[in-house]
């Protein structure tokens, strides 16, 4: 659906595109591209059992990039009138200084996979149905336990039309739906307060929220966490064995190794992983991939924001570093395959190598055996996010639901704590890998250089022999 969207909506023609690319290459340069974007979004939330407000937005624009050697010139416009796009193209061209070049213009899109539905959450349901979702979540969370005192539930969807044309003949159009629900709960018992949160979604039809990812599912999960946290004890401090539950704790991979394997950092040799290609960076039980081709996943894309097909890229195979995630610029400069990881937040931003869905493949261990093998440690099942210093490799991620493991048994829940480690060696301490790979529920957003993009993560149950846990207890 909606092929030729920009041609119909803005009266673009083949000649216009040729003219814009020619203007971008008017001072020379190796490559130029234009990224057209038209984004509509809706969000609403229930708060104190009222839908207090609802928002809708439309944003459209075009970004023009000119690349010459390692230099990038960039300009954008939120006015798609021909003279504004030409102005942006000439501004971006200032980066180059040579004779004009002639672009190859092709108006033929390649055959693409269709990883997400053509009718999407944004357009296939009435607003009233979306309102119903958040009310159901509110009701379910309050019904979960009388100690649940505050509930906020939100629903958001967007539909992004993109068109990418490049001077190398790149031509790609895509229509990318994205939706999610989230629930935030505060429970109180006497003087004790605690919070819980949950959410998920993806590039789905609206129906998913009525069948699989229901409001009750997210509400119960958020309420369960908040009630549990009411009785949490201080988390211990210091080095210990850590078992990560399946799914969202995969944020470990994203922070510890994911960013460090984005090609731009390695091209500049500013990553702690620079020079480790082909070397052991994890135990032989670890195989990690970045896969943008999974159906309907939050991090999936038919084409990346440079018009390239996404891939299933092996990053680490049986512990050996095998691949980087590349965009056009780093692929060309480093002589690497372009893995289709060139992404950007919007037309206002320069694309760069970014993750899609990053996860570790299942191993052979039975999750119960992994827990049983731990004398004293931490079992962490939910996380609030993380951060990494690419250069020295140090990374953190915050556990929002975790338990003590004592003599092979899961015991008391502990309060929020940050875990810290060193990216290039944390995976070498993985001694057991469960047979239960799960991907997260579709809530992750990754930030890099001020740009946010939706991503996915996943792991099976993992045992890390030693990590530093940042609690306040003994």
């Amino acid at each position: 659906m909606d092929k030729r969207f920009f041609f119909e909506k803005y009266g673009l023609s083949e000649r216009d595109l040729e003219k814009y690319l020619s203007a971008a290459l008017s001072a020379g340069g190796d490559y130029a591209d234009l990224y057209f974007e038209y984004l509509t979004s809706t969000s609403l939330s229930v708060d104190e059992s009222m839908v207090k407000s609802a928002s809708q937005g439309i944003s459209a624009g075009c970004g023009v990039r000119v690349v010459t050697g390692e230099r990038t010139g960039y300009a954008y416009t939120d006015d798609l009138a021909p003279e504004k796009i030409l102005h942006a193209a000439r501004t971006a061209a200032l980066i180059a200084s040579g004779p004009a070049k002639t672009p190859v213009v092709s108006l033929k899109d390649k055959a693409r996979p269709s990883l997400y539905p053509v009718t999407d959450a944004a357009s296939d349901a009435e607003l009233s149905k979306k309102v119903e979702l958040v009310f159901r979540a509110d009701k379910a969370a309050r019904a979960f336990d009388s100690r649940v005192k505050e509930v906020r539930a939100s629903y958001a969807d967007e539909l992004r039309h993109i068109l990418v044309i490049g001077s190398d003949g790149t031509y790609a159009e895509d229509v990318q739906p994205l939706s999610r629900m989230s629930v935030f709960v505060i429970a109180r018992d006497g003087q004790q307060s605690a919070k819980g949160s949950s959410g998920g979604g993806g590039r789905h039809k609206f129906e998913i929220f009525l069948t699989e990812k229901t409001p009750e599912h997210f509400a119960n999960e958020a309420a369960r966490q908040a009630i549990l946290q009411l009785t949490a004890i201080p988390c211990p401090a210091g080095e210990m064995e850590v078992v990560l539950g399946p799914g969202w704790p995969g944020v470990l991979l994203h922070e510890a190794i994911g960013h460090g394997l984005e090609a731009d950092f390695n091209r500049k040799k500013t990553s702690a992983f620079s020079g480790l290609m082909g070397k052991r960076v994890a135990s032989e039980k670890c195989t990690v991939v970045d896969n943008g081709t999974l159906n309907e996943r939050r991090g999936s894309l038919n084409v990346d924001d440079e018009g390239n097909a996404t891939n299933n890229t092996v990053l680490i195979e049986k512990g050996i570093l095998k691949g980087f995630m590349a965009d056009k610029l780093s692929a060309r400069l480093m002589g690497l395959p372009n893995t289709g990881n060139g992404r950007r937040e919007s037309y206002e931003h320069i694309p760069m190598p970014r993750m899609t869905n990053t996860y570790m493949l299942s191993g052979d261990d039975v999750p119960e055996d992994i827990i049983k093998s731990v004398k004293r440690g931490l079992y962490a099942v939910n996380f609030s996010g993380g951060q990494v210093d690419i250069t020295n490799g140090k990374f953190v991620f915050g556990a929002s639901e975790a338990y003590l493991i004592e003599d092979g048994k899961i015991t008391a829940p502990v309060k929020d704590a940050t875990l810290i480690g060193n990216g290039p060696d944390v995976l070498t301490r993985v001694s057991m890998v469960g047979n239960d790979l799960q991907l997260d529920e579709g809530i992750g957003t990754c930030g890099k250089d001020g740009q946010s993009v939706p991503v996915g993560v996943g792991i099976p149950t993992l045992k890390i022999d030693r990590m530093t846990v940042g609690g306040t207890g003994n």
Binding site: A54, Q56, E70, E239, T270, N392, F397, K415, G470, T472
Partner: protein, 457 residues
């Protein structure tokens, strides 16, 4: 140039007033509209070569409508008459699906207004340099950093950025206000390697509203280099409890968490450990904190807030007593209080709460004197991660810094966490430094805090 910009100014005021008027004629009982316009320039120079050059401008329009006690809001980047009509109609339509909220509404007419006079927010000199001169600023910052020491072998670049913006807000009580703002900044991010090939990176920057107040690229580069070099050879330390000194940057991050905890939105939902503590002694007697949106040239200064209420100076804590939350119209009504002029509003969504210039009253001692007073302890210079639970005040973040031995900085430390509880930490401020400096809209002097746990080996 001057003629063009006058023309544009007129248009934007008419645009928001027109959107409000249109909303009222379509059945809204109250309406508010905001337009923002901005230009940005940025360049990165890496290893002496230009890496990126970015220059652009954009505009956006938002409208918030009330139909009785129902409210909704919409945004668009299409400022054509058709775009505005679609925006307003969309908002009115959307309001039909929202609930009746007795507290919904814009401020009362008598609450509206703005501070007159020049607040020092806008200087057009930030855009006065040629591209070559801008690139030169970035290049000099990086060059100065890399020249400091042979161990500085790589770089994430030097940068120069400039931006100007303009915001116009109007509502159906007849308020219309506008202001311009400008920023420019220089940064350097050098990378150092030791003999073993271990790398460390750190950064420094200068930001100002006018080029005249920006530090020289050489100064920025030199400090960035010093901060990076002192991290080489960092080690882990044992798990322990010792006094921790937070430098201005990390102390400012702690104070930022306190802003989040006095934010009316967290308060009325009981999502803050400070909820219900108004008038109580929540922190140590040495803690006095203000929020002041009126400081001339401040990074958190503006003539009116996101709802058209004049900004002001609010005492938030006085000698440890919680004197005021920070509120917008909605959260004030929920709490039975008056707005403190802290509404923040982007284009989209309902107004949130933003700080003005939020800062702690400085003490007497320099950072050096505070460090001298510590026998065994840690100076924290950087946080990693976001581990704060505002509901409980529990705090646990990754950190790096310098070990303090007998009052002297001994060696760099990394891969540790520092943890405590914000409520207790601000009761245990053993020292507050004299070194308050504005480098953003939140500022705090050096702090020494007792009783926190360091997790390491």
């Amino acid at each position: 140039m001057a003629t063009t910009s006058t023309q544009v100014e007129l248009d934007l005021r008419e645009l928001v007033q027109g959107a409000v008027k249109r909303a009222m004629s379509l059945g809204a009982t109250a309406a508010e509209s905001v337009v923002s316009e901005g230009s940005e320039f940025g360049t990165v120079v890496r290893l002496g070569e230009v890496e990126t050059l970015k220059e652009s401008g954009s505009r956006g329009l938002g409208v918030r409508v009330f139909v009785g006690q129902h409210t909704a809001n919409t945004t668009t980047s299409d400022l054509s008459p058709e775009g505005v009509e679609q925006l307003v109609r969309g908002a009115i339509e959307l309001a039909k699906i929202t609930s009746e909220d007795p507290m919904a509404g814009i401020p009362e007419p008598e609450q509206l207004g703005q501070i007159n006079g020049d607040l020092g927010l806008y200087f057009d000199d930030v855009y006065s340099l040629s591209n070559e001169e801008r690139i030169d600023q970035a290049r000099r910052a990086e060059k100065a950093a890399l020249a400091v020491d042979a161990r500085l072998t790589n770089s994430d670049g030097g940068t120069f950025d400039a931006s100007i913006g303009r915001k116009v807000l109007a509502n159906s009580h007849g308020f219309v206000g506008e202001y311009r703002s400008s920023y420019c900044s220089i940064s350097a991010v050098p990378i150092a390697s030791d003999e073993a090939g271990n790398m460390q990176r750190d950064y420094w920057y200068s930001v100002a509203r006018t080029l005249a107040k920006l530090d020289s690229p050489e100064e920025v580069g030199r400090i960035a280099a010093e901060r990076t070099l002192r991290r080489l050879g960092a080690r882990k330390i044992k798990t322990q409890k010792v006094p921790i000194v937070f430098d201005r940057q990390t102390a400012g991050a702690l104070l930022d968490h306190i802003f989040d905890a006095v934010n009316g939105d967290s308060i009325y939902r009981h999502a803050s450990f400070l909820a219900g503590k108004l008038g109580e002694k929540a922190f140590g007697s040495n803690v006095t904190v203000w929020d002041d949106g009126t400081i001339v040239g401040g990074y958190g200064t503006r003539p009116f807030d996101g709802e058209g209420v004049p900004t002001r100076r609010t005492t938030v804590f006085e000698n440890g007593e919680l004197k005021s939350y920070l509120l917008n119209t909605y959260t004030a009504k929920k709490l039975g209080l008056a707005t403190t002029g802290n509404a923040s509003r982007g284009l989209a969504g309902t107004p949130g709460i933003g700080n003005g210039n939020f800062y702690m009253q400085p003490g007497e001692k320099s950072q050096e004197e505070i460090i001298k007073g510590v026998k065994h302890g840690l100076l924290v210079t950087e946080f990693l991660g976001h581990g704060v639970n505002l509901v409980t005040g529990d705090f646990s973040r990754g950190a790096s810094g310098m070990w303090i031995e007998n009052g002297e900085l001994a060696y760099p430390v990394e891969e540790i966490t520092v943890a405590g509880n914000l409520g207790e930490m601000f009761c245990n401020l053993a020292e507050i430094g004299s070194d308050l400096i504005w480098r953003g809209s939140v500022a705090c002097p050096t702090l020494r805090i007792e009783g926190m746990t360091i997790a390491g080996e």
